[in-house]
Subunit: 314 residues, 2 copies
């Protein structure tokens, strides 16, 4: 497949670097201010060298990447809320050209799912978005395999930054502020960590799961009840610890309800994953609970989900 | 889809009972000595009543089910080794009629994978077999999604009976013989437990994984190095326990090597699942390790995998 990549962050870069390993060719790549286009395939090293030395990926405009020759547009620009722009516009442009779209950007799927499905219905192109939930962990493809009707609840630890902070707070008895600073030093938390620690990121993932489970009804972030971990006192973790329990930022989708918040769970529960690991529990009608876990973030990890989606395209 | 079910054990029965929930119709069902056929769809309750009262599912011969009107043959007869009959013959008959085949029976996939793929290549029908490995746990579809090339090792606890026995031996400090008798009382172990406790069942699952991972080379049970848990002394588990470790019957597929045997693993390792739970670890090239876990056996659980396969058929 020929691929155009919108976004030159960790995920976009990994897609560019790994595409050849999966037998694909990247014919265009754009960051927020520039683009590189070559119908014969870009040279990943040259593009990334230019990005690091000059801050641009090539001499073309970002829109030129949208007009390039490709079968699949990989939309990996940063997640934005509300109108989900500019990502949504990129998706729209590709579908109007009857191209497939694979999203790593959560915005269009969490905030404008109905619009997205409407555009897809009028296009020869298909939209897939495994990479938006749980990095490399097969979450949406598992729901697709079982059939959304057969899953009663999806519950999980879906934000590695929050989980790293909670794990460290409990294991080392440290305060939220201390561990957050440490996580920022390690690159596990961003300079502005609010998206992760206030639960927004986990909530977006849950909203996406709700959209997939409840074919028909549309959910957005406004439909989620969200509480973060940023006001959690270390004493709460101490109390949990004394009782053989721990606290995790758990997201849950059941029926019409989407909730994210700190939850007390047994220390030996499957959901009590450590560090930046993510886990998703699927409660099924006939097969009990199933669990998928692994690295829920990272460039190559998320790119793996992008390539899995591309492999599922007709 | 119209379905014919060969085999009226736990899995075949669950497929018959649940088909309508998935929007499918069972038009034929056979046990080893009889069959029920109705092009308009069988009445599950009537068939199962007859099976329990008279020991047969209907007045027809088993072969009549093969000749019935169906889109998919679900092959759920008991696993047999070597020529994998009679299951392999049923698969062959369906493929020759250009019908799809979904297997819960491990024999044809573990013992005659090359023959199976040859027959499939000459047929309009497709063969799928998610239910042969790990019950409801998505193992083969996860390998399919990631791409076999991207997975370096598959490792897991794939036999619930052996795992139940090891968990109980360690937790209660009981002998193998004592726990086996208990497991037999509970229906977790069969009267002849050799298939489970000697590692054969786990090895067949690993051989199936090897066949899927190594497209081209064919593996059979003879290619696996297999050691069971039936000679494991309770003292080995005591020693492990003292060291914060446990013993699990672990199957591993890496490159050309297929091995099953008792392995020492840390007590807090993801692989140290309890009771009849199964878990599979996928080591990937770019996304670290991923884990899928859940109930690895049981009629409705395995039927869930059968319906997932049917959903993937074109």
């Amino acid at each position: 497949m020929n691929i155009a990549v919108m976004g030159a962050g960790a995920v976009g870069t990994a897609v560019l670097e790994l595409a050849a390993q999966y037998g694909h060719t990247v014919t265009a790549m754009a960051d927020s201010s520039s683009a590189a286009v070559d119908p014969d395939g870009l040279d990943p090293a040259a593009v990334l060298d230019r990005k690091s030395s000059e801050g641009i990926v090539g001499d073309a405009d970002p829109e030129d990447a949208l007009d390039a020759s490709y079968d699949v547009l990989v939309e990996a620009t940063p997640t934005t809320l509300g109108d989900a722009q500019p990502g949504f516009g990129y998706l729209e442009a590709a579908l109007k050209r009857d191209r497939h779209v694979v999203l790593a950007n959560k915005g269009p799927v969490a905030e404008r799912y109905g619009d997205l499905r409407d555009l897809e219905a009028d296009s020869e192109g298909e939209v897939r978005f495994e990479a938006t939930v749980g990095g490399a962990i097969p979450v949406l493809s598992t729901i697709e395999s079982f059939g959304p009707d057969q899953i009663t609840t999806v519950r999980g630890v879906l934000n590695g930054t929050a989980n790293f902070i909670l794990s460290r707070m409990q294991n080392e008895g440290l305060s939220y502020e201390h561990v957050l600073a440490e996580a920022q030093d390690l690159g596990v938390a961003e300079a502005d960590p609010s998206f992760d620690v206030e639960g927004t990121d986990a909530a977006l993932k849950c909203v996406i799961v709700a959209n997939v489970l409840q074919n028909g009804k549309e959910f957005t972030l406004d439909d989620a009840t969200v509480e973060g971990i940023h006001e959690l006192p270390a004493s709460a973790l101490d109390l949990a610890d004394e009782d053989g329990q721990t606290i995790r930022l758990v997201g849950e989708v059941t029926g019409d309800t989407v909730r994210v918040g700190p939850r007390l769970i047994p220390e030996n529960s499957a959901l009590a994953v450590s560090g930046t690991q993510n886990i998703v529990q699927f409660e099924t009608t006939y097969a009990g609970s199933l669990y998928n876990s692994g690295r829920g973030a990272g460039g190559p990890e998320t790119a793996t989900a992008v390539f899995a989606d591309i492999g599922h395209l007709d």
